[in-house]
């Protein structure tokens, strides 16, 4: 009548059949062989990695007629009954449905009686994290002085919810996530046993999508088998699991860089039509751009990517896109990911965001705008927009009355250690976007003798790793404490700073910093929640006309757009005018 799902059909029945939990099975089998069996076990780990399965195998191992044995026979009355959940001496309890203290008391009461037939009375409490505090306390008593014939096996996905008092009385076993290769082997075995034809690519995709859970992998295999009538191909798997194929990401990046707007819309349409989740798509695309970024700044890191097809194409984009392009793309995608949650029309939102991204390189860069603005103020004809193409080096640059003096107070570190001082400070800024003066000034180290460590590091990065230089030089302050270098960034630089969390970039930075310090340093990145942005109340509705102008100014100042404008142009709010009503 009903069909048995593959995950249950292929549930291991002996320790040897468990995949990827060697450490656990070794300890358990050794204990059984040496007859040093604990009174209580806790099995912890993510979904579908073998906790419940192992609990049942262990129960059989302990109560098998020919036991305790590392190889329960599976055929004796005890083994049979355990397998069918009918054993009087092995009680499997669902912690989630029996979470109350009453139920646990009842259970403990029964623990006082000797086993009815078999060696031990074994209580398997699954999903044990759901027990109430009172229930745990009730349990504790019995755990402290367990009757010699009683064993407890607890299983949970949420180790952190188990009280320490319980933990300290259990032998803990941590179940690992299962490696993709091991999942693939198991899936291959099952497909073969079921007489299913499936390609290697399909198996690998399933294994990777399972992200460490054997059950996830087997459930997904079950589903593709149910859906396909012929040989299962990789394409069937991606379609069915709603995965975003690497190829789609490549096509998207292609369309974006080539400003192929029609293709962009086609791709989104196809994703929606096939039921893909657009949020997944955007985060996958972000990951793709991060990969491009890594390929750009650290081409030697290509071993980092698991499969050759993951690197294919990355170099091409790494060549076409500037670091600035990539950072902007990441920033825009981050915003998109957030905005998608509340967008009234997620599909349209994604379309527009991607089209905008495709136009970004065409748009004048911020720097260009600034220059043209300055030129206008100076009464010159605006230079033509140049997109993000490289600009001629020493372009005269006029500073439009900044509200605070910038350069003379403290010369930037670059100027200190870098090329000979320039004739006039305004006349020629180096053609390096990090030298722009709208970034927060580099601050002094906090109470650290080598106060110029960061400036040295930044100088070193400038030639060695320009990309890191671009990011690191935007930090606001740092601490060098023993072997730990902490870099702090304003929350407005969050997207940028987060790039340093990528292992590749962080490793590079640590390597550079360690070289300079001549000892092993580890880098921590901290993004400061500048109180204003975090705790600020949502923008107050602008309603009545009778607010004083002070108040209006204050509110204008809080507006993120206005703030950005002030920051960029070092401006001040002179007056606030409301649109006449």
């Amino acid at each position: 009548m009903a069909y048995e799902v593959l995950a249950l059909k292929y549930r291991p029945k002996v320790f040897e059949d468990l995949v990827g939990q060697e450490a656990v099975t070794r300890t358990l089998t050794n204990a059984i062989q040496q007859d040093r069996i604990a009174h209580a076990f806790l099995f912890a780990g993510v979904r579908g990695v073998g906790k419940t399965t192992t609990a049942r195998i262990l129960a059989k191992a302990l109560n098998c007629e020919s036991g305790p044995t590392v190889r329960p026979c599976g055929t004796c009355a005890a083994c049979e009954e355990i397998a069918r959940g009918r054993s009087l001496d092995v009680l499997e309890i669902d912690g989630a449905s029996n979470a109350g203290v009453e139920q646990v008391r009842e259970l403990i009461d029964s623990a006082r009686y000797a086993p009815s037939r078999d060696r031990f009375k074994i209580y398997i409490i699954d999903e044990v994290h759901m027990l109430s505090t009172a229930a745990f306390n009730a349990l504790l008593k019995t755990l402290e002085e367990p009757p010699p014939t009683v064993k407890f096996i607890f299983a949970t996905t949420e180790h952190h919810k188990i009280p320490d008092t319980i933990l300290s009385r259990c032998q803990e076993h941590e179940f690992r996530t299962v490696a993709p290769g091991e999942i693939a082997n198991q899936l291959r075995m099952i497909a073969k046993a079921e007489g299913i034809e499936i390609t290697e690519g399909a198996i690998r995709t399933l294994a990777r999508a399972a992200s460490g859970s054997m059950r996830d992998g087997i459930s997904a295999l079950d589903q593709v088998i149910a859906a396909s009538s012929e040989k299962i191909e990789e394409h069937d798997v991606t379609e069915l699991l709603g995965l975003i194929e690497r190829d789609v990401l490549r096509q998207t990046a292609n369309a974006l860089t080539g400003q192929d707007t029609a293709s962009i819309l086609k791709i989104v349409n196809e994703l929606v039509r096939s039921g893909r989740d657009l949020r997944n798509f955007i985060s996958a695309l972000m990951q793709y751009f991060r990969d491009i970024l890594v390929a750009k700044v650290a081409p030697e890191a290509s071993e980092l990517f698991e499969l050759p097809d993951e690197t294919a194409g990355l170099e091409k984009f790494a060549g076409e896109l500037s670091e600035e392009d990539l950072l902007r793309a990441l920033e825009l995608l981050t915003q998109t990911e957030i905005a998608l949650r509340s967008s009234p029309e997620p599909r349209f939102h994604v379309e527009v965001a991607l089209l905008k991204l495709s136009q970004l390189r065409k748009l004048a860069s911020f720097e260009d705008l600034l220059e043209r603005f300055e030129a206008l103020v100076a009464g010159e004809p605006p230079p033509p927009s140049s997109g993000s193409a490289p600009k001629p080096a020493a372009k005269p640059r006029v500073v439009a009355k900044p509200t605070k003096p910038k350069t003379e107070a403290s010369p930037s570190p670059e100027a200190k250690a870098g090329p000979p001082p320039q004739a006039t400070q305004d006349a020629s800024a180096p053609d390096d976007w990090t030298a722009r003066d709208d970034f927060p000034p580099l601050s002094e180290a906090e109470g650290e003798p080598s106060s110029d460590f960061m400036s040295q590091l930044i100088e070193q990065l400038k030639t060695a790793k320009p990309m890191l230089h671009a990011i690191v030089s935007r930090h606001t302050s740092y601490e060098l404490d023993g072997n730990r270098l902490t870099l702090k960034f304003l929350s407005s630089q969050k997207v940028l700073a987060e790039q340093l969390e990528q292992k590749m970039l962080k490793d590079l930075l640590e390597e550079q910093a360690s070289r300079l310090a001549d000892r092993k340093l580890s880098v921590t990145v901290r993004v400061q929640e500048n109180g204003a942005s975090k705790d600020a109340p949502p923008p107050a509705p602008i309603e009545t006309e009778d607010k004083s102008s002070e108040d209006l100014q204050e509110r204008a100042r809080r507006d993120p757009l206005v703030r950005q404008f002030i920051d960029t142009f070092q401006g001040e709010i002179q007056s606030v005018k409301k649109p006449e009503a």
Partner: protein, 338 residues
């Protein structure tokens, strides 16, 4: 209603039909995808197919079993939906399912439990489902429905076969509105364009008079695209702010701005019957400007919907800013004028 009659998601639906046909229906299913695309319909059809007294493969829809399932009076088909102010799927309701599942069906072949908005269970309720989802008795089928699968526990997802529903296509939706919901063709086209592929969304606007609103939206876009004068725009905004269909109007504006964007970008539009008007609008300003116009309307819509900003000012600001876009496609000419 038979599988044939379900609208949209053809491949997925025929997969379900095939599973019923071959008697291989997995015991734990998760239907996910945007709201209003037929997930519940599909679940009900499945429940009927498994219990119909006329057919074992495709429900007849007319036998007593089918009829009573539809009326939610059938003993073996149980539907739990969120209730109360918090719109929670109550733990009691979930526990009841867990308690009843071990019993054989009373009158039908399969005991089917459908949990609507399964993401709206609290942790305790969700955890009580785990055992039942993993090892149900052979007669039980559990169908979890959600538009937010990411909010479910990984332990739940791991135990289910997951069926991903896509939004309905514009034609599918407008045909459905005409055939099953007594909507005339023009209104259906408008509703479909507004719906984001969700029947529920489309029906929620069903009784609104939309023709004049749509014309107003087109007129508005035309005027701002031509750089209308502030003296005209502000009173206009005042009037719109008083209309109780304001959000709908903004929604229309947003969809049309998107359609102009799509026109300029070489893609398909959703307001198909307005093609010539949209074409004309697309001549007025470049892609950049229309992208920005879309963002402005979306922003205004979200501000009014979620943040309750002042209507008059929000709308006035929107119109003026859109007008600004068409005037100053580039920063430099705008500055030149000063």
């Amino acid at each position: 209603m038979s599988f044939e009659k379900l609208v949209g998601n053809r491949a997925l639906v025929s997969r379900l039909a095939r599973m019923v046909g071959s008697g291989r229906v997995p015991p734990s299913l998760l239907f996910c995808g945007p709201s209003g695309v037929g997930k519940l319909q599909a679940a009900m059809t499945l429940a009927k197919a498994l219990n119909c007294s006329q057919s074992k493969t495709d429900p007849c829809g007319t036998c007593p079993a089918c009829l009573r399932i539809d009326r939610e009076e059938y003993a073996d088909v149980h539907i739990a939906r969120p209730e109360g102010a918090g719109r929670q799927l109550r733990a009691d309701a979930v526990r009841q399912i867990v308690r009843e599942t071990p019993f054989r069906p009373f009158e039908g072949r399969r005991r089917v439990s459908i949990l609507i908005d399964a993401d709206r269970m609290n942790d305790a309720a969700a955890n009580t489902l785990l055992k039942t989802l993993e090892e149900p008795p052979p007669w039980a089928i559990l169908i979890l429905i959600t538009s937010n699968a990411a909010a479910l526990l990984p332990t739940i997802l791991s135990r289910c076969q997951i069926y991903r529903f896509a939004p309905l296509a514009i034609e599918e939706l407008s045909d459905l509105l005409v055939s099953d919901h007594d909507v005339d063709r023009e209104q259906a086209t408008t509703l479909a364009a507004l719906s984001g592929g969700s029947l529920t969304a489309a029906l929620s606007y069903r009784d609104e008079p939309l023709t004049d609103l749509r014309q107003e939206a087109v007129r508005l876009l035309t005027v701002v695209a031509r750089g209308g004068r502030e003296q005209d725009l502000v009173p206009w905004a005042d009037r719109l702010a008083k209309d109780k269909r304001l959000l709908l109007l903004l929604h229309l504006l947003m969809g049309m701005a998107r359609d102009v964007v799509a026109t300029l970008a070489g893609g398909a539009i959703v307001h198909r019957d307005l093609k010539s008007e949209l074409d004309e609008l697309s001549q007025g300003a470049p892609l950049d400007a229309w992208l920005a116009a879309f963002e402005l309307t979306e922003n205004a819509l979200e501000n009014l919907r979620d943040r309750y900003l002042n209507k008059r000012l929000t709308v006035a600001r929107l119109l003026v800013e859109m007008r600004e876009l068409s005037r100053s496609r580039q920063l430099s000419p705008a500055l030149d004028r000063q």
